[in-house]
Subunit: 413 residues, 2 copies
C-alpha cells in the first residue's frame, strides 16, 4: 500500500482516538492483550519462518535470540500491554489555567500528538510495546520494524488490529509498514502531511539515517556514552560499586557507563581498586598515559576511545585535574545521556549537577537508573537525548502535546 494512504488512514484513526475515553482505551488494550495470548500459535508459526530465514542468512546467535518468540515472551508482551492500561491517562491533564484581565479563561490541556511513526530493529516485542504506549496516549501509530522480524510483526499487528476492532476502535490506530525497503523508509521520514513525530528506536546507524533524512519532527533516542567521574573526595567503596554496576550490569544498553574519569590526586589509591573489581567482571580497560601505570592489566587508550560507545565489557580510563576538567571532558565527549559524579563533597557535587548538560546527571548513584520504570514513569518508548520536547525516558506524558482552550464572552482585540 502507498504510504500516503497509510498516513491518511492513521490521521483519520487519530481523530477518532483523540477523543476516546480512558476506560474505552483501557478495555481495548486488554482486548489486544487477550488476543495476543489466544493466538499464540499463530504468532509462533510466523516467528518460526523469521527464525528459519535468519539462520539461513547467518544472523548472530544474539540476534536470533532477540528475534525469537516463546510462549513466555508472548505472555510478557501481553502483560506489558495490561501494565500500560493500568497507567494514568496522560490525555486531558490540565497543565495550566489562568483568567486574563479581560476575562478570557485560558486552559492549557494535554492532547495526543496525533500520528507517531516508530522505526525499530529486530525485537518483535517492541511492536506490542510501541503500539500500547502510543494507543494509550491517544496517538495512532505507524510501525516500521526490522525486515528480519517481518512475519512476526505482521502477525502481531494483525492480531492487535483484530483486538482494536473488537473493542470498537478503528483498526488503523495501529498500522505496520510491510515494505521494509530503505527507500520506503525514507519516504516515511518525509511524510510531513501525515506524521507528527518520528521516533527511531535502535542503534547509532538508524539514528544517524533518521537525523540525516527526516523532514518530519524527530525525537532522537538512545546513543549513550556515559561517564563516571570519581572525585578526590569520593567514598572509594561506593565508587567501585557504582562503576562496576554502571559498566557491567548490562553493557549493551545505552545507560551503561563507557568511560571512567578519575581525579589526579587519587590515581594511586583509587585506580588499583577500581581496576581489579572491573577486571574481575571481565572488563578490558583502556587507559590514558597518566593512568596506565596505576591500572593493572590495562592497555593504552588512543584518541578514538574518548566518546566511544562500546556496548561491551570495555571501559576507557582518563585522569582529570578536577571537577571542572571532568565537566569539560564530558561536555566534549558525552552524548547528553547520563553522567555521574561520585563524591562526598557537596559543593563539588552541586557544581557537577549544575554544569553537566545531560538528560540525567547523577550524584552517588549508578547511571543504569535512567529508565522509564526506574524513574517511575511506568513504561517508556525510549530515552531522549535531545533537548526539544522531552529529555530522558519517554513515558506516556512525553507522548502528548498540548493545546490552549480559550473561553470568552465576546472579547475582541
Amino acid at each position: 500500500m502507498e504510504l500516503t494512504e497509510l498516513g491518511k488512514q492513521a490521521k483519520e484513526a487519530a481523530r477518532f482516538l483523540a477523543t476516546a475515553g480512558t476506560d474505552q482505551k483501557n478495555l481495548a488494550l486488554q482486548t489486544m492483550a487477550d488476543a495476543l495470548i489466544a493466538r499464540t500459535a499463530e504468532l509462533l508459526d510466523a516467528n518460526r519462518l523469521d527464525l528459519a530465514d535468519g539462520e539461513k542468512n547467518g544472523l548472530s546467535r544474539a540476534m536470533l535470540d532477540r528475534l525469537s518468540l516463546t510462549e513466555q515472551r508472548i505472555l510478557a508482551m501481553a502483560d506489558g500491554m495490561r501494565q500500560v492500561a493500568d497507567l494514568p491517562d496522560p490525555v486531558g491533564r490540565v497543565l495550566d489555567e489562568t483568567v486574563r484581565p479581560n476575562g478570557l479563561r485560558l486552559t492549557k490541556v494535554a492532547v495526543p500528538i496525533g500520528v507517531i511513526a516508530v522505526i525499530y530493529e529486530a525485537r518483535p516485542n517492541v511492536t506490542a510495546d510501541s503500539a500500547a504506549l502510543c494507543f494509550k496516549s491517544g496517538n495512532a501509530v505507524i510501525l516500521r520494524g526490522g525486515s528480519e522480524a517481518l512475519r512476526s510483526n505482521t502477525a502481531a499487528v494483525r492480531i492487535m488490529r483484530d483486538g482494536l476492532r473488537d473493542a470498537g476502535f478503528p483498526a488503523d490506530c495501529v498500522q505496520l509498514i510491510e515494505d521494509t525497503d530503505r527507500e520506503t523508509t525514507k519516504v516515511l521520514m518525509r511524510l510531513n502531511d501525515y506524521v507528527d513525530v518520528l521516533i527511531p528506536r535502535g542503534g547509532a546507524g538508524l539514528i544517524r539515517a533518521v537525523v540525516e533524512n527526516a523532514t518530519v519532527p524527530v525525537i532522537r533516542t538512545g546513543a549513550g556514552t556515559c561517564h563516571i567521574y570519581v572525585d578526590k573526595d569520593a567514598d572509594l567503596t561506593m565508587a567501585v560499586n557504582i562503576t562496576v554496576n554502571a559498566k557491567t550490569s548490562r553493557p549493551s544498553v545505552c545507560n551503561a557507563a563507557e568511560c571512567l574519569l578519575v581525579h589526579r590526586d587519587i590515581l594511586k589509591t583509587a585506580l588499583p581498586l577500581l581496576a581489579s573489581a572491573l577486571r574481575e567482571k571481565g572488563v578490558e580497560l583502556r587507559a590514558d598515559p597518566e593512568t596506565l601505570g596505576y591500572t593493572p592489566g590495562a592497555v593504552p587508550a588512543d584518541e578514538s576511545d574518548w566518546g566511544r560507545e562500546y556496548n561491551d565489557y570495555i571501559m576507557a580510563v582518563h585522569a582529570v585535574a578536577d571537577v571542572g576538567e571532568a565537566i569539560s571532558f564530558i561536555s566534549r565527549y558525552g552524548t547528553g545521556h547520563s553522567e555521574c559524579i561520585v563524591t562526598e563533597n557537596t559543593e563539588t557535587a552541586e557544581r557537577f549537577l549544575r554544569e553537566v548538560d545531560a538528560a540525567a546527571v547523577y550524584h552517588n548513584a549508578s547511571t543504569r537508573f535512567t529508565d522509564g520504570g526506574e524513574f517511575g514513569l511506568g513504561a517508556e518508548i525510549g530515552i531522549s537525548t535531545q533537548k526539544l520536547h522531552a529529555r530522558g525516558p519517554l513515558g506516556l506524558r512525553e507522548l502528548t502535546s498540548m493545546k490552549y482552550l480559550v473561553q470568552g464572552n465576546g472579547q475582541v482585540r
Copy 2:
C-alpha cells in the same frame, strides 16, 4: 567566518550562559538596552544605507517601512529588552520532584536549550527581540536576518555584543551571520553539532525551506489559516464583532481569520449582517455556491480559497451542516493555529473545544488573542503551530529544556 567556527563559539558561550545568575543576566539586558540608545546615531546611519539600497532595488513601500528605523523605534527596541529583563527567569524552575522507593531523589529542572538559531526576514527590531529572549532564557543565539537589513542588523548586533562584554558576558552569546547567501543558510540548517534548535520567523516560503532542508530540530512558527465558525445558536451581534475583529484588526498577521464558516440554518439571517459589516471595513468576500446568494457583494469562491492564508482584506465564506462538519472542514483546511466557534450552546462549544486540533481553540472570542503578550507570557519569539515541544505562543519558558538531577547515596541497579 566559517559557520562551524560560529557554532563552536556559540556552544562555548552557551556553556557560560547556562549557569549565569538571573541578576547578572538582567543587568546585561539593561546594559545592551542602554547601548542601543546611546548609539542611536550609529544605528540610524547603518539603517540609512539599507534603506537607500532598498529603494534602489525597488522594495515596496510596506517593506521599506518595516525596514526603517527611527529614534522612536530604537527606543522601543531598548524598551523591549528591558521588559524581558523584568520577566521571571525560566531557568532553574523545579518541574517535578520525587523520591523513589530506593531512596533516589529525582529533581526535574528547567535548563537552557543551548544554542538557538533564528532565521528571520526584514525587520531589524526582531534582532534585538530575539537576542533578548534567547539570552534571558540562557541560550546563545545565532541570528540570520534578511539581506535587506544587513547593515542595520550588523550595527545592532555589534552594539549588543559590546553591551554583553561590558556586563561581563562573552560577546558570542549573540552572533550574526553576515553572509546572507542561501547556501550558507542551508549549512546553518544542517549544523547539528552546534545548533540545538532552529526557529524560523517569517512567511510560508521560509518555513517550507526550513522544513525541507533542516536536519537540526526545528520549531515551526506562523502560517495561520484561522476559521470563525458561526453556529446556529450564535449571538449574531457577537458573531459580527468577533468576525470583523478577527479579520480586519490586522489582516497581515498569522492570528487573523481567513475563512468564515456559517451553519446552514442561519445563512439567511446571519450572512447579510456579517457581510455588510465586513464590506464596510473593505473586506472582499469569496463565497461558496450555497452562501453566495445570501452574501451581498461576494464573488464566487473556488477550491483554492479553502485553506488559503490571504493576509489581506479578503475572506472566504462556506456553509456547513453542523458543528461536526465545521470541525471536519477545519481539520482538512486549517493549519493548527487558532480556530473559533461563536455559539451560546455550551454543549456545541465543548465539542468544538475538544475536537478541534489547533494551538488555540476559541469559544466566543477573537482569534487575534493568540499572542504571547495577550496570553500573559510577557513576550514571544513566535507562535508554534507544531505539536512537539511547544504549541502556541513561544515565551521564555518555551525556550528551555529540562534535565533530571538524580541524587543518591550509593544506589546500584
